[in-house]
């Protein structure tokens, strides 16, 4: 289990306990957190589960695969700390992770 905090673009904070092994995207979708669409269902094929990872966390997460950076080209307003939440797997190590959800996904 890890506590994940999702912050929507209107500054609503949602903190959830997410099971290890799920992705940060699944944690959001299963709990109806608004703003994460995940159209392709976690296939790294759509860039609609885009989040901004808080700076202090960004370097602690496992590195992006090439395909993820390619998909981020298509995300809405990508930044240096952009990630696809379907590629962040929940584990005890990321307990306390905070992610910001962009104002829209497309």
């Amino acid at each position: 289990m890890a506590k994940i905090t999702y912050i929507t673009s209107d500054n609503q904070t949602h903190t959830l306990e997410v099971q290890n092994g799920l992705t940060v995207m699944e944690g959001a979708v299963q709990n109806d957190i608004p703003g994460i669409d995940a159209d392709c269902g976690g296939g790294m094929a759509c860039a609609t589960c885009h989040v901004y990872v808080k700076e202090e966390w960004f370097n602690k997460l496992p590195k992006k695969e090439d395909g993820e950076e390619d998909m981020l080209d298509m995300a809405f307003e990508p930044k240096k700390n952009s990630r696809l939440s379907c590629q962040i797997i929940v584990s005890d190590e990321i307990d306390g992770l905070e992610v910001n959800i962009p104002s829209k996904q497309a």
Partner: protein
């Protein structure tokens, strides 16, 4: 006006196999899809990615799966309406009146929505004022490249479309190519060509930049782009092209009076019918308890929806279940010798 037994919206795997099932049981159908090619997400999102969970197909790519499904439709004559989006669906006596973006009209007792997560639309620039210039001096695809001749064109993106057009237009336009990072995801050979042209001052390359605003009153005059380090550049430009791939939008489906929840349509699991009689949903877009978004589920859903269509298309006939291994009727429809 086309009078048909069933209209399928969406030419992805679920739509294609549903078409097969309809034709096999003797119903005619046509297929509409907003993309310019058959295959849906398989062809647009992951043509080269291997899929491992199609029953009896240990491994195949999205493109191979599509080819095989098209092959399976060969015995049948099915009309596909590509580059067309269904805009309107309304009841007309006991049939559905369906109108597409190209003005095609269908009258049919059965509409099967196999729309995945909606229709593919180009991803757009984020600054709101871009809309003002859309389809005038700001485009998401190129229809006529001659309008750019001798002009300054600013191209955004790092995939094949952006690179190909940068190379092509650099022959007789002033080209700015702007991308959010140093690496391009387009073909290496084209990326190399872009770098050569940039060296020869044929293309002005701006990497680690993104669009922040467009300027101009009546006509587009310039754009502002911002570097990762917050430096802002103003570029004079006549045209802007954005190539950020495609996104799926539910689009007009939302207006047809269906029970929609989180971009999915509620159906029963007997006919895969929606809350509207004669409108079905199959594949990723349908929702019922236990729904799995797998291609194989779409095949099952399409097979059942097709049988349900029979009742409305042939109210005076009785549907009889038959196997392709033994039924003379089915073998005849498949073009096999009896």
């Amino acid at each position: 006006m086309n009078k048909i037994d069933a209209l399928i919206i969406g030419a992805g795997p679920a739509g294609l196999f549903t078409a097969h099932q309809l034709k096999l049981i003797g119903l005619d159908c046509e297929v509409v899809d907003n993309l310019d090619k058959i295959g849906g997400q398989c062809i647009e999102l992951y043509p080269d990615k291997p899929i491992y969970d199609i029953p009896a197909v240990p491994e195949c790519t999205g493109e191979e799966l599509t080819k095989n499904l098209i092959n399976q439709l060969k015995p049948f004559d099915i009309k596909f309406h590509l580059n067309e989006r269904v805009e309107e669906v309304k009841k007309e006596s006991d049939k559905w009146f369906v109108k597409t973006s190209n003005g095609n009209i269908f009258l049919t007792p059965n509409v099967i929505i196999a729309g995945g997560v909606g229709s593919f639309e180009p991803r757009k620039f984020s600054p709101k004022e871009c809309e003002k210039f859309e389809n005038k001096s700001l485009f998401y695809s190129v229809k006529n490249k001659n309008i750019f001749k001798g002009k300054t064109v600013s191209i955004f993106g790092g995939g094949d479309s952006a690179l190909d057009w940068a190379v092509e237009l650099s022959k007789d336009c002033k080209v700015n190519l702007i991308h959010r990072r140093d690496e391009f995801r387009g073909a290496q050979a084209t990326a190399d060509k872009v770098h050569q042209l940039a060296k020869a001052a044929k293309i002005n390359l701006f990497t680690k930049y993104q669009m922040i605003s467009v300027k101009g009153v009546q006509q587009l005059e310039s754009i502002e782009i911002k570097h990762d380090n917050n430096e802002i550049k103003n570029l004079k430009t006549d045209y802007v092209l954005g190539f950020f791939g495609l996104i799926m939008q539910l689009g007009p489906i939302a207006n047809w009076g269906l029970n929609i929840d989180k971009k999915t349509i509620e159906v029963d699991t007997e006919k895969f019918e929606t809350n509207q009689k004669g409108i079905y949903a199959v594949g990723d877009i349908c929702k019922y308890p236990g729904k799995l978004k797998l291609i194989l589920s779409g095949f099952h859903e399409g097979a059942l929806a097709a049988r349900a269509c029979f009742k409305l298309a042939r109210p005076n006939e009785k549907y009889r279940f038959e196997f392709t291994t033994t039924s003379k009727n089915l073998l005849k429809r498949l073009g096999k010798k009896e």
